[in-house]
Every structure is written in C-alpha cells, then in structure tokens.
C-alpha cells in the first residue's frame, strides 16, 4: 500500500524551544503514503508540540520539513492546509452553532452571484454535505442543515474527518479523536480512519488509549521528554505491554 519512492512527509532534526524549555529534541519523523501512524507518549512528551509544528500552529526553532520530497515552509495553519495537512483538534474542529454544511465549508465557502453581492451557494454546499455524510457512513438521515451542537461526539468526529477527506488532504492529523466517546462511537471513528487510509490518505493518530491505537495503526511512534524514542513499532510484533514500557521508560530500567 505504501508508496515506497518518496515519503509523504519528512520532518528532519526538528528542534523547538519554548523560552528555555526544550520541547522537541532533534525529532525525525517520516510518514509514508497511505499509512496510519500512531503517535504515543505520556503527558508532556512533546506530542502536541510536534503536531502543532506540523500543522503550522507554532513555529519551530530549527530543522526542516519536506513534503513529497520538497521543502515545506509553514508560517501559519493556512500554509499547512494549503499543503494538504489537515489537523482535527478535539475541541476546536467545529463550530457548534453552525450547520454541518456550513462547518464543512467554513473558510472555503462555495459562492455564487455577482462580485459584491455574492452569497454562499447553500444548496450546493448542502447537497455536497449530504453525499459526504453518506460516504463516511452516517447512513441515518441527518439533514446537512443540522447544527453541529446537536450531534453526538462520534458524529462530530465523522464530520471533521469527512471534511478532511473532501478537501483531499493528504495527511490527516487526529488529536485524541476517541476521547470521551462511547464504545460504539469509538468503533465508528476508527472505521472512518481506516476508510480514510483506504481512500489514499495518510493519518497521524494521537490517543492516550493504546487499545484504540493498536486497532487501527500500521506503525507506532513513541515520544518521551521531547525525543522520539521509537518509531518502528508494529502492532503486529509488539505487545501493548512493550509499548507501555517504552512510553514510561521502563524498558531502560529493566
């Protein structure tokens, strides 16, 4: 499945300082095409910082990022979105007051009508949203004009993932997508992630729950104290216990 020629994203020797705090130490991370990578680590290990760097939300101190072999400059989240990197944060992905369709197209609204008096093409946005909801497997009849606020947590994740897929993001970063979700909802989200990979998207999957990670990823990367301490763990060959030991640093003590 993986396109072996050039990796999708390569982060090389990334360093990040917050003042005197060394948040990322010489981080190297490679994401291949069509691959789901689990990013694991305890609180404060640097996962969030790494993701923020890759999504353009915070500048990095030094290092370089390549996408499809070409250097990538990330000055803002817009740069990342334009390059095809879509980050789905847990609490700041969707606007609860707006409808599903308006959320899907937020910042990239379809418009019609003459220049100054142009308006959103709500019919087209709604019909695209309806198709998309069907495609990501929300088969129940939810009108695309429903506000996000009245959807369940799993449905919201589905909408956010659907948005990333619709806009052809090559890399979808999911920040704790299964937090606070029930069992059935979690399975739904994991299925969306697999569907996203099967349609050619790469994913970085961040979760505290290692069981969820094991169900869906091709490879696991573990961070500790700002460093990548393992980047080739496979759910097929490693056990959950092995991974937990690496996260906590027990394997060094042992």
């Amino acid at each position: 499945m993986a396109d072996t020629a050039t990796p999708l994203v390569e982060m090389r020797n990334i360093e990040k300082f917050y003042g005197r705090i060394h948040a990322l130490r010489n981080v190297n991370l490679t994401i291949r095409h069509g691959e789901i990578v689990g990013l694991l680590g305890d609180n404060g290990a640097g996962k969030s910082t790494l993701i923020k760097v890759l999504s353009g939300a915070v500048p990095y101190t030094s290092g370089e990022i390549l996408m499809n072999g070409k250097p990538l400059t990330l000055r803002s989240t817009n740069d990342a979105i334009d390059a095809g990197i879509e980050t789905i944060y847990q609490d700041s992905a969707l606007v609860p007051q707006l409808s599903i369709a308006r959320n899907l197209f937020l910042g990239r609204e379809l418009r019609k009508g003459p220049g100054f008096l142009d308006r959103m093409d709500q019919e087209r946005m709604n019909s695209v949203a309806r198709d998309l909801l069907k495609r990501v497997g929300i088969s129940k009849n939810i009108p695309p004009t429903t506000p996000i606020g009245s959807l369940s947590g799993g449905e919201r994740q589905a909408v956010a993932i659907a948005r990333a897929m619709y806009f052809d993001s090559e890399l979808i970063i999911l920040d704790e997508p299964t937090n606070n979700l029930g069992v059935a909802e979690t399975q739904g989200v994991l299925r969306f992630v697999r569907d996203a990979r099967n349609s050619g998207h790469s994913c970085i999957f961040i979760a505290h729950n290692i069981h969820h990670v094991f169900q869906v990823v091709d490879r696991m990367v573990v961070m500790r104290r700002g460093e990548v301490v393992a980047d080739d763990l496979s759910p097929k060959t490693s056990s959950i216990q092995d991974v937990e030991d690496i996260i906590t640093g027990e394997h060094i003590a042992a």
Binding site: T77, I81, S92, P96, Q97, I138, G188, R191
Partner: protein
C-alpha cells in the same frame, strides 16, 4: 473488537419535527410573541396606541438606537461588544457641527470626516481587543470615558447649534420626511429598513456572515479553518462605531442640537435590544430579525406604558423585567436544544 465494520455509526439524539417545534426553536419566536402581546394589551387599554401619529412618532425615535443595535448584533455574534457607542453617538455630531459651524468646510466633508473619526475609534477598540487580547468590556469602557470626555472638552460642555442644517441636502437625505397616506415617514426609517435588510443578508447568506458566526461560536475552530477572526472582529468594531456615529448625526439634525452629553446610557439600552431579540451575549448566534423585534419592543414599551397611564419613570422596571424574562426563556430553550429535545 476487530470486527468493527459491522458496528453501526453512533446513535443520534432524536431531532425536532413539525412546523410548531421548528418555530419555537427559532430565537425570534420569544420576542415576536412578546411584541404581539404588547400590541394587543396596549391597544385594548388605549386604542390611540395604534394610531398613525403615534406609530409614526414611535418609529422615528426608534431608528436612531436601532441603527446601533443592528451593527451591535453583528459584533455580539462575533463574540465582542462595544460600550462606547453612546459616547460615539454624542461625539460624532459634535465633531461634524464644530467643523461646519467654524466655517472650515461645508456640511458633506464635515460629515465624512466625522464618520471617519467614528470608524477610527472603532478601529482603536478593535485593535486593542484583538491584538492585546484585552476583554472588550474593559477596552470599550475606557473608550466610553475617553470619547465622552473628548466631546465635553471640545465643546466646553455646550451644545453645538445645527439649525443651519435646514437647507442642506444631506439633512434631507438623512432625516427628511414624506407622507404615505396619513403616515408621516422619516428618511431615517428608510435607512433603518435598508440597513436591516443588508445586515440580515450579510449575516445569513454571505461568506462573511458565516465567518462572523464561526468567530463567535468557536474562535479556535474558525482560526484553524483559516478564518481571519481578528480581521472579522476589527471590521465589526469599525462598523458598529460608524453606525453609532451615523445615528448620532441623524439625531442631532432631528433635535436641532449636537449635545456633547447625548447618548448617555444608550450602550446598555442597545445591548438590551440585541439580547432581547435573541442574540447571545457570548457570541456564535445572532439574529437581525430578532434585533428589529427587540428594538420595537423596547420603544413601543416606552411609548405604550405612558399611553396606558403608567408613570414614565417606571419604564425601567418593565425593561428590566423583560430582559430577565427573555433571558430565562432563551436559557430554557437553549437547554432543550442542547438536550436534543
């Protein structure tokens, strides 16, 4: 656990059906009912309430605050508000008439400069809020004092005469009147209607309207989607200030005086109109239709309670009660909404 393909998508809460439930769910529903009840009660006690003269008078005074309320609706939907509108309402006409009366320029350039000053005040507040991250309550409170102080200092506290306005075309365009049948209609009412329609279109149909709602609803998400939330807020601060200035100028021509003290307390009355209409103080949800209803409710209440013989001084008791009642209603509806009932 691996056989997830058979797992159904998560269960959705039941959704409201039926026209009545949809109607009740609309934020404009509460204020609409209140307005109808008021009209019925006041008219049944004193039929003069619905007379053409009375309606015409009530509408005239309505629009000056209403113009500010329209812009404030957009600003509050984006999650901010502006306490300095009353001061700008007093200050802008003072600037315009001072420029005109000293003979330094004719009325139209003075009008333009005064509005630019108003917009600059809004821009200043907006930059403070968006760049320094200071809450709009504090920024615009400071602005309220600075602008009011400037108006008083500039005029030494004396009103500026505006009676030379009579022959000016600008005065006719802003506050001229004409009759439709027996109803005396002021130009300011036409402006109010046009601007209300434009803002409603802007908020509900345009891309910028989507950005306004997103900025107030979840600023983080809006920013992540590439919405320029600072720019959105800045533009709305400038718009609100411009409308406050315009309203002040209209008022100064109508009452033939630019009083540096005018507009005191208007900021709170305007915010009351907006929240009674169903716009949320914390942002994300706003309605121009609701604000128009809120404007009418407050103005007709002021007018009606006098006509039915309640002492005018008791006006604020009713307004306060209406605000509290409306907030309770909106909170109850919001709770129902969030529970997916």
């Amino acid at each position: 656990m691996t056989d997830s393909n058979t797992t159904e998508a998560p269960a959705a809460p039941p959704r409201p059906t039926g026209v009545v439930r949809l109607l009740i769910a609309m934020p404009e529903f509460g204020p609409l009912v209140l307005l109808v009840v008021m009209l019925v009660v006041f008219t049944s006690i004193n039929p003069a309430f619905l007379s053409l003269t009375n309606i015409s008078n009530a509408l005239t005074f309505t629009v000056e605050l209403g113009l500010i309320a329209l812009a404030m609706t957009l600003l509050m939907t984006s999650g901010e508000f502006d306490l300095s509108v009353g001061s700008v309402f007093g200050f802008t006409p003072v600037v315009m008439w001072t420029l005109f009366n000293t003979g330094s320029m004719s009325l139209f350039p003075a009008f333009v400069i005064a509005l630019v000053v108003a917009i600059a005040i809004g821009a200043f507040s907006g930059l403070f809020v968006t760049r320094l991250g200071i809450p709009s309550f504090l920024v615009t409170l400071g602005m309220l004092l600075m602008v009011r102080g400037s108006a008083l200092w500039l005029t030494s506290g004396f009103p500026q005469r505006t009676w030379d306005a009579g022959e000016q075309w600008l005065a006719e365009v802003l506050v001229g009147d004409f009759y439709i049948g027996g109803l005396r209609v002021y130009m300011s009412l036409i402006w109010f209607i046009l601007i209300a329609l434009a803002f409603h279109y802007l908020l509900t149909r345009s891309r910028f309207g989507n950005w306004i709602q997103a900025t107030g609803g979840n600023p983080g998400a809006a920013r992540n989607r590439g919405v320029p939330i600072r720019k959105v807020k800045l533009i709305l601060f400038m718009l609100t200030s411009a409308m406050a200035g315009l309203a002040g100028i209209i008022s100064s021509i109508r009452v033939s005086a630019a009083n540096p003290n005018s507009g005191m307390g208007y900021e709170l009355e305007v915010i009351a109109m907006v929240v009674i209409g169903g716009t949320v103080l914390t942002g994300g949800r706003g309605t121009i239709i609701g604000t128009v209803l809120g404007v009418l409710i407050l103005r007709l209440m002021r007018n009606g309670i006098v006509l039915i013989g309640v002492p005018g001084l008791a006006y604020n008791i009713f307004i306060g009660a209406i605000i509290l009642g409306m907030m309770a209603l909106h909170a109850a509806l919001e709770k129902r909404h969030n529970e997916g009932v």
